[in-house]
Symmetry: C2
């Protein structure tokens, strides 16, 4: 089963080389030394949120499931590893039949998380689990960073739609994942056609300054656009003089003009002027879209302006100052053999330089207060206290190597909105602060 089962066109190549060289050398040494089969538990978590952020957003889980399912070593890849002497022949043989056969539990995609939250847990032999480290972290670190920025922007935008348009500001495939993560975080549409193709996200767009400059004058450009795309289109009105362009836009398209877009200048001031002008021209239903280097703060500052939609590019795809999370994938427990009855021994690197981790296979639950609002992220080892048993956060995602849970993106998006709404009100303050709920270890 793959995302293709949701009816979307998809072709996921092998993900086996999105892997650090040392995962394979560790595998080789563990195979030779005899420890490769030891039953192991790895957990993904972050020691801290980006500075000033109040919550994190789990995003990319669906992509992780695809990556695990497509993690296999075909002849080309094995040939490369052989030629470059990355690992020895016994290891290559082992890799040739590699299929992850273990278990994965995790926070459902769209959930919020806090420092220490075990957002993904991978269990199986050391050998089969260690190989997945790099690609799992790549996906979760990237996608969660974008979703966190998107979520803040969506809070700031309130009911107004947000258009993701950052493809040109990031790697061409990171852009597709960024559109997906932005949608999870609350964006409405994307400019990125590949994101529409791959994930079914609605795509939008009409024209750029180049289209106006191509023509002999602005009137010709507007006329050509309206003739082709209809009166409901969005005309870009800041190539020359905004006031003249708005007048011309309504003259060409009539008051049925769908929208005007403003991409420069003092947006607060210009939006008010343009709204007044549109209303005076009878174009009272014509919307105003703004798109100039916006971030969550600029969006919030336009809350009182007559703006109908925001387009966000650079600041979205760069995580609004935090383009990656600091998620790590740590061995937290292992047995002395592959025997399922052999006890798991908690393990952890000794702290130096602040890189602490807590050993042991963990559960996590979100405790609510009397009003049903999140009060603490509770993380523990062993049995889950009865009062938290129905507030557990980890769900089973992969069992015996089989992906159990795949979800349409709208389900994930709705889950995030619900999770955010369930946090204390200060969660959506844009000002810097601490995590909005504490992490408690029991």
């Amino acid at each position: 089963m793959n995302t293709a089962d949701l009816g979307l066109p998809v072709d996921v190549p092998s993900t086996a080389l999105f892997t650090d060289h040392y995962e394979l050398t560790m595998l080789q040494a563990a195979l030779k030394g005899g420890a490769a089969d030891r039953r192991s538990v790895f957990e993904v978590f972050t020691r801290r949120l980006p500075e000033g952020r109040r919550y994190g957003v789990v995003a990319g889980t669906g992509r992780v499931l695809d990556a695990i399912e497509n993690f296999r070593f075909d002849a080309d890849v094995l040939g490369f590893l052989r030629e470059r002497r990355v690992v020895d022949e016994p290891t290559l043989e082992w890799l040739a039949s590699y299929r992850f056969g273990g278990a994965v539990w995790g926070y459902p995609e769209g959930e919020v998380y806090f420092p220490g939250s075990p957002i993904l847990r991978v269990e199986g032999s050391f050998a089969e689990c260690v190989l997945l480290e790099t690609v799992i972290l790549s996906i979760l670190n990237h996608d969660s960073a974008i979703a966190a920025a998107a979520s803040r922007m969506a809070s700031a935008a309130g009911e107004r739609p947000l258009i993701e348009m950052g493809a040109r500001r990031t790697h061409e495939l990171a852009a597709v994942a960024a559109s997906r993560a932005a949608y999870v975080g609350g964006f409405t549409t994307t400019s990125d056609l590949a994101a529409g193709f791959r994930y079914g996200i609605p795509t939008v767009g009409t024209s750029a300054h180049a289209f106006t400059l191509l023509h002999d004058n602005e009137r010709d450009a507007f006329q050509a656009q309206v003739d082709s795309l209809g009166r409901g289109t969005t005309l870009l009105v800041d190539t020359y003089d905004v006031t003249e362009a708005v007048r011309l836009a309504v003259e060409v398209a009539g008051p049925e003009l769908g929208a005007v877009r403003i991409d420069s200048g003092d947006l607060l001031l210009v939006a008010h002027r343009v709204r007044q002008q549109l209303d005076e021209l009878g174009a009272t239903d014509t919307r105003i879209i703004v798109t100039s280097d916006l971030d969550e703060y600029a969006i919030a500052s336009l809350a009182a302006a007559p703006v109908d939609a925001y387009g966000v590019g650079t600041q979205l795809v760069t995580g609004s100052g935090h383009p990656t999370c600091s998620m790590v994938y740590k061995l937290v427990a292992r047995a002395e053999s592959a025997d399922p009855k052999a006890p798991l021994v908690p393990v952890a690197k000794k702290s130096t330089g602040g890189k602490t981790s807590i050993g042991g296979r963990k559960w996590a639950a979100r405790r609510l207060d009397a009003y049903g609002v999140a009060e603490a992220e509770v993380i523990g080892l062993g049995a889950v206290p009865a009062e938290l048993s129905d507030r557990q956060l980890l769900v089973e995602l992969v069992k015996g190597g089989q992906v159990l849970a795949r979800e349409p993106l709208d389900v994930v998006r709705d889950r995030h909105a619900a999770a955010r709404a369930n946090l204390p009100l200060s969660a959506t303050q844009l000002s810097r602060g601490e995590a909005v709920i504490p992490t408690e270890y029991v």
Copy 2:
């Protein structure tokens, strides 16, 4: 011709959907309105360097050439565009036979650039050129940002090798491009196997803390690693106690031990202690590799420490604070028809909000002082002054749709080193400052 001709395994799918929706609606309107065939010139440039940076690095050009060559609309893609009603049937027909047939000139990859430098120029019909905007900017904005950070780190590292190990901190395919850009900027090796496979970059790696924690004790782990990977391997010595681990490492591997890696703590202090201990143990040739959240400043601060190599992750793949450039793709001139004799008319958006551009098809040259050091980036319209004619920066990359120039990555890497060495000495100061040479318009 493709990168595959350099002997590297490569499979580049169509890049046509790495495109903003509005490129296609502009195309539709221009086809219907009759302006689509107008001969047009688009230029890629940036209005400013990231704050405090003294030069930029052109990276991604080779990937741009691949993207242009693979920009075509197959049946799946056309079916998607039809079903989602992105464009009308005449436009779909036009797209079905799309192949870029124009010209591309650009700064050779690895060159440095400054505000206003026309690092890429795309010429052809409006229709064929406008479609390429998004993917060209995605590649250049991402790759150049990483290469610029890499270049600063390489300056700081001097003769010491740099290992790129940031795959886990960025999107899994952005990571591959980041390895490539890092290599251009002066890195030596990468941890990313996909970058080795795709671009032939040397890959390295040995083990992580998980490998030590997997075993019953550090001795077992070291022994297993040395047994499998040989005495020349790199042992990670900071899982528990560094002093004890170094002692154990030399005991297990002997003084032939290749290297030890330190991934936490006060690296300056620890490196000195470890060096002294290794020397006392007779392991005078054992190298010290450090890898803990390094950036160019941390690398520079270790210049006097007995460190033999640096591994850099997060700060490399996030551009050391600047994960994207602000490159734009602007229509700067167009004719009134497709006729090659029709004069090109310079065009530019009128300035509002600082988004100025200068119209017209430009040349660029780097003027040298009497000592042969770069003195100014000179940009002009029309004829190139005789004294600058052999200092021109733009080279022909694509002619009549055919890629002319493809280069091994080592050539690009060497070019960057030479270009950087030819800048005034203050170029490689890490402190914030202005562009190291001024941009002059003539």
